[in-house]
Amino acid sequence: MPSYVIRRILLLIPTVFFAISFLFFLFFTLPGDPANLIAGGFNRTPDPGVVQRAKERYDLDKPLPVQFVHYWERTLKWDLGESYKNRRSVNDILGEHAVNSLRLGIWAILIEVVVGIGVGLIAALRRYSLSDKITTVVTAGMSALPVFVLGFVLQYAFAVYPHKHAWPEWLTLRTQGLGPDSWAFFFIPTGEQWRYLILPAVTLASVSTALAARMMRGSMLEVLRADYMRTARAKGLDERSIIVKHGLRNALIPVVTLIGIDFGTVIGVAVLTETVFSWPGLGSEIASSVTSRDLPVLLGLTLTVVLAYAIINLLVDLSYAFFDPRIRLGEGGEK
């Protein structure tokens, strides 16, 4: 197992290096000189002196390969540079936004796991019942609805509409921003906070929850037909332990894989969700850094996301061994 982990990490290094380097060079093929943008913006002719100072400050006066080497020298020391836009340290920006994204993400994952797996399981156990049919229709609809539309609809239904009809204040949820910064144990909202958190968390979770529920339903239906389930029944075990110990544990493997692989989608959904709800997380910041061409912010935050993605995938692979003891990692031709 340890050698497997080491090999995976070694494979990871070139992947991350090339991915970030690709973005680095892609950025410089964008039309417009970054130094001009820093100094003046797209349409004005900036003062040459200001442009020169901007170039020196941001290392843009050197040839591209030199900048590239400098970039990696700094990045290896985890110095992510300075934002073009407001000269703030990217490390600081990262810290702030990562915390916000994590808080939102934890709740989205909780919703995905509890609601997704729960609903999928119930649908599978009551196949062809009304609740199963509703699950199928709703999950299909969720995956076909643009995330930001869901966000708007939720905003309308739970914040705008109650506000217009003067519902009691505690029933009106908030649609914009982070709200007061009151959290317990890092991620549990206290007081006002939950009214700001609930809508973005539900929106962020929506797509993956629908996927997880569909996957769980399919996977459980398959497991229910398996021979070992019949054996378990024949042994006279009670239905509850058959479902939980024999069924659920096996049915969870593909769902856990999905939750891991799906992280890329989650980032995309996070970009949209955070933009709709003005939630100052990594997603909205990455999106705005691409459009405002803030290279250090873009690369720094993307690097973090890429690393997180890789680590989550590794953890998911390791968790297979927990769910299915037959799987021994690192032996034979395992990728």
Partner: protein, 306 residues
């Protein structure tokens, strides 16, 4: 085992002398294409999807006849709700929303289908090369795929959109050029297993060229997952277009892309919810149709999965 290209396998089963579509009697030889269609027809959701898609194609083709107004024509009614003159109401600068949604069918289908075809072409080329030749070439292609998979899709798409500019045609390029990762992996996996089959060995022994073996012998047998994935991905592309429009890097204003219309309607959710509702409903119904058709095709092409 894959059932492969319905047409090729179908004519094989019926034999050269017998006309395709011959015997319908029970027990008589039936072409595979008919079998697939028979199974597909039994799937109610897939049939609803197909009917809606046919309807959509008719709307797209005959848009000028169906739409009472042009996409830029303005009337002095702003953000009016649905009425008899304007079935879906009017938008913020007085354009007829119904006409724009009707013309939008053209734009969205075009973007969806062309971008999917582009990704499929890239994916099939890379995937088949990797799976067929194996070795260093396979490692190289798979490493490149891994690198692009590591970059969050939306970052890549926004960055490439920023290079190419924002129009209906460039958005096809952007989505097409970024969407080939999954299909590459799918095609590679099929090719890896199919390359081991006896008929490939036979073809190699007969001295056929590698290109011929790859595309004439193996590809038809690997088509099933490609068809299913390709169908579903058209819906995915339409959703991506909507997301890019919302982030401001999609097609620009007079273009009646549904995603753009939804993104534009966001500000008026309170006073004019029809601006959001109709284009969003068009997106949801279209994406669902493609998903249901894709699911139906998967079940119909491989009855063992049921």
């Amino acid at each position: 085992m894959s059932l492969g290209d319905p047409q090729a396998a179908g004519s094989m089963v019926t034999g050269p002398g017998e006309p395709v579509g011959g015997g319908m009697d029970l027990g008589a030889v039936r072409p595979l294409r008919k079998d697939v269609w028979r199974r597909f027809r039994r799937n109610r959701m897939a049939m609803i999807g197909l009917v809606f898609l046919v309807f959509l194609v008719i709307v797209a083709v005959f848009a000028p006849l169906i739409a009472p107004y042009s996409i830029t024509q303005r009337v002095p009614l702003f953000r009016e709700g649905p009425s008899r003159d304007h079935l879906f109401g009017t938008d913020i600068i007085g354009r007829d929303l119904f006409s724009r949604v009707v013309y939008g069918a053209r734009v969205s289908l075009k973007i969806g289908i062309l971008a999917s075809v582009l990704s499929l072409a890239i994916g099939i080329l890379l995937g088949s090369t990797a799976g067929f030749f194996g070795g260093k070439l396979d490692t190289l292609i798979m490493r490149i795929t891994d690198i692009f998979l590591a970059i969050p899709y939306i970052v890549l798409a926004i960055a490439i959109a920023a290079i190419f500019g924002k129009s209906e045609n460039t958005i096809i390029l952007v989505i097409g050029l970024t969407g080939w990762l999954s299909i590459t992996r799918i095609v590679r996996a099929s090719f890896l297993s199919l390359t081991q089959q006896e008929y490939v060995e036979a073809a190699i022994a007969l001295g056929y060229s590698r290109t011929r073996i790859m595309f004439r012998h193996i590809l038809p047998n690997a088509l099933q997952p490609i068809i299913v994935y390709g169908t579903i991905s058209v819906g995915g592309v339409i959703l991506t277009e909507a997301a890019l429009s919302f982030l401001g890097v999609g097609p620009q204003d007079p273009t009646p892309a549904w995603g753009l219309m939804v993104a534009q309607g966001k500000g008026d959710l309170v006073n004019a919810s029809h601006l959001l509702f109709f284009p969003a409903a068009a997106i949801v119904l279209t994406v669902l149709s493609f998903v249901f058709i894709g699911d139906g095709l998967r079940d119909a092409l491989d009855p063992k999965l049921k």
